[in-house]
């Protein structure tokens, strides 16, 4: 049967209010039957211009806008901002603070990957794992509530320190969680990996060659699943990551399933890191006296710095310029999910719509961060 060119392709609008677009992603699809011919992501529905708001506030106040970028991995965002701000303001956090930050960032990495796994399952039509992962995540958020007073947007860290010190009870409860968690993690992992439908929906789908990934600026678990062992925690260690023992999981399979396996292996490594950090946690002050509360708004910085950290999505970079006043002159955020999303049109050429949903799910999109 012959089609004329005009009626052959259908334009379909997916999102911004669609269950499998992880927030407010809108995709303009050009379809030939069930096959995707072209994808155009349209973003910006959650845009708040945090970069401009940062310019209007003191150095210490800008932190809360970073919490609201990647709201499922808020601790990693805070670490990213403070790495840049502390370099610019020449303030060194005490030793104990560095270890506390590592513990919080890694716990949050586990929570973020768990949410991703649950949402990814939902994308593929698996409802069961969602409840398992959210139960585990709730335990981490309960720990956060006890430590910082809030669940997600914690605003726990501050320039040169943290808001509250760890006590023995907290350390005991984190250890208790870490003892039980690996068993539950394997349970969730098996729910996915022993499911034939899950394997056939993810295996050999969305293959991303390493050269293409580098050219598009892809980082994080997505790049590691393509076989390139790039992890800022190893390549340019910040905080105390050079003093803990862990491996960077990579996979040579390059497909959606590889990204899933890499993320789960990362969670196991995070458990290892937190255990070591709890053992090595030194005594000492939990803030730098140069940045105590009454002095915080008088901090001045000059020059420009770029600090990169490994957030849950990839390389999270903050470029910061100070002009010697109490407010930053310019803050620019390198959002990993933004860069990872830009490869979606390439990956979903000539695939089925259902596979495109699996691919966009494997990117780990959080729209607070893509749109900033």
């Amino acid at each position: 049967m012959e089609y004329d060119e005009k009626s052959r392709y259908i334009e379909l609008n997916m999102g911004p209010q669609h269950p499998s677009t992880h927030g407010v992603l809108r995709l303009r699809l050009t379809l030939d039957g069930e096959t995707v011919k072209k994808v155009e992501p349209i973003i910006g529905y959650l845009h708040r211009n945090a970069e401009k708001i940062c310019e209007l506030d003191f150095y210490c106040d800008a932190l809360i806008y970073f919490d609201r970028m990647d709201y499922v991995g808020a601790m990693n965002m805070e670490v990213g901002y403070l790495e840049a701000a502390e370099k610019l303001l020449n303030i060194e956090p005490p030793e104990r603070v560095k270890w506390i930050r590592v513990i919080m960032a890694e716990l949050n990495r586990i929570a973020s990957h768990l949410v991703w796994a649950g949402a990814f399952g939902l994308d593929l039509g698996m409802l069961t794992p969602f409840f398992y992962v959210f139960e585990e995540r709730e335990k981490i958020l309960n720990l956060f509530t006890e430590i910082c007073g809030s669940r997600q947007e914690t605003n726990y860290m501050s320039i040169g320190g943290v808001y509250q010190d760890f006590n023995d009870k907290i350390i005991f409860r984190i250890r208790e969680f870490l003892d039980e968690f690996p068993k539950k993690l394997e349970e969730v992992y098996n729910l996915f990996i022993k499911n034939d439908i899950f394997i056939s929906r993810t295996k050999d789908i969305g293959i991303l060659e390493p050269e293409i990934a580098l050219s598009y600026g892809v980082t994080g678990p997505m790049l590691r699943a393509s076989g390139i062992p790039y992890d800022v925690r190893k390549d340019e260690p910040y905080l105390v990551y050079d003093r803990v023992n862990f491996t960077v999981p990579i996979s040579k399979k390059k497909d959606v399933l590889a990204r899933f396996i890499v993320r789960f292996e990362e969670m196991r490594q995070s458990v290892k890191i937190v255990k070591q950090a709890l053992d090595k946690l030194p005594d000492g002050p939990f803030f730098n006296p140069k940045a105590k509360k009454s002095l915080m708004i008088r901090l001045r910085g000059e020059g420009d710095v770029y600090a990169r950290t490994e957030s849950t999505k990839g390389e999270f970079g903050v470029y910061m310029v100070g002009d010697g006043s109490v407010k930053p002159y310019r803050v620019h955020v390198r959002s990993p999910a933004f860069k990872n999303l830009s490869v979606l049109p390439y990956l979903s050429k000539d695939v089925l719509i259902a596979d495109m949903v699996a691919i966009s799910g494997s990117i780990d999109l959080v729209f607070g961060e893509v749109d900033r």
Binding site: V232, G303, D304, Y306
Partner: protein, 153 residues
């Protein structure tokens, strides 16, 4: 090499190349040939009389070590590096959207985060934040930006 680069060290200890706008593409091509295959980010700073562009490049064969290239423009025009790195595509669209830098040679230069038709560039220092803009719909369903909340279809 037919161009001049000023070499300096940044506050964070990274190597910085400062170059004029005319020779930017030649330098970028040379750097890509040297193995800098990962363009991490393009950022821009508005210094009122000029706009400075900052490129961070990473070398995958050398533990992703960073090199910084800085250039500046007075009339907001700059050559695009999208032919060299695909990741520059969205980065340059973002800088055009936020700072109003026009990248010559970019395949599809349009706004990315803000709707088409937005007035002004928010990250410029002279952007007027007191004027509220409203996004409505026009008759064809596209975004329609105006200063009047009741305007539009």
């Amino acid at each position: 090499m037919t161009y001049e680069i000023k070499e300096e060290t940044g506050k964070d200890g990274r190597k910085v190349f400062r170059i004029g706008r005319d020779h930017l593409l030649e330098l970028m091509k040379d750097l890509k040939d040297q193995g800098y295959d990962h363009l991490t980010l393009i950022s821009s700073v508005d210094f009122r009389d000029r706009i400075e562009l900052i490129y961070h490049l990473e070398k995958s064969s050398d533990n992703f070590s960073i090199i910084v290239v800085k250039t500046e423009t007075k009339d907001t025009h700059i050559p695009s590096v999208t032919p060299l790195w695909e990741s520059a595509n969205w980065d340059e669209r973002e800088q055009y959207d936020m700072m109003g830098v026009i990248f010559d040679g970019h395949p599809d230069l349009k706004r990315i985060l803000l709707p088409e038709g937005w007035n002004g560039y928010p990250l410029r220092k002279d952007y007027d934040m007191s004027k509220v803009q409203f996004v409505n719909m026009d008759e064809e369903g596209n975004d329609y930006v105006s200063f009047d909340p009741g305007d539009g279809w």
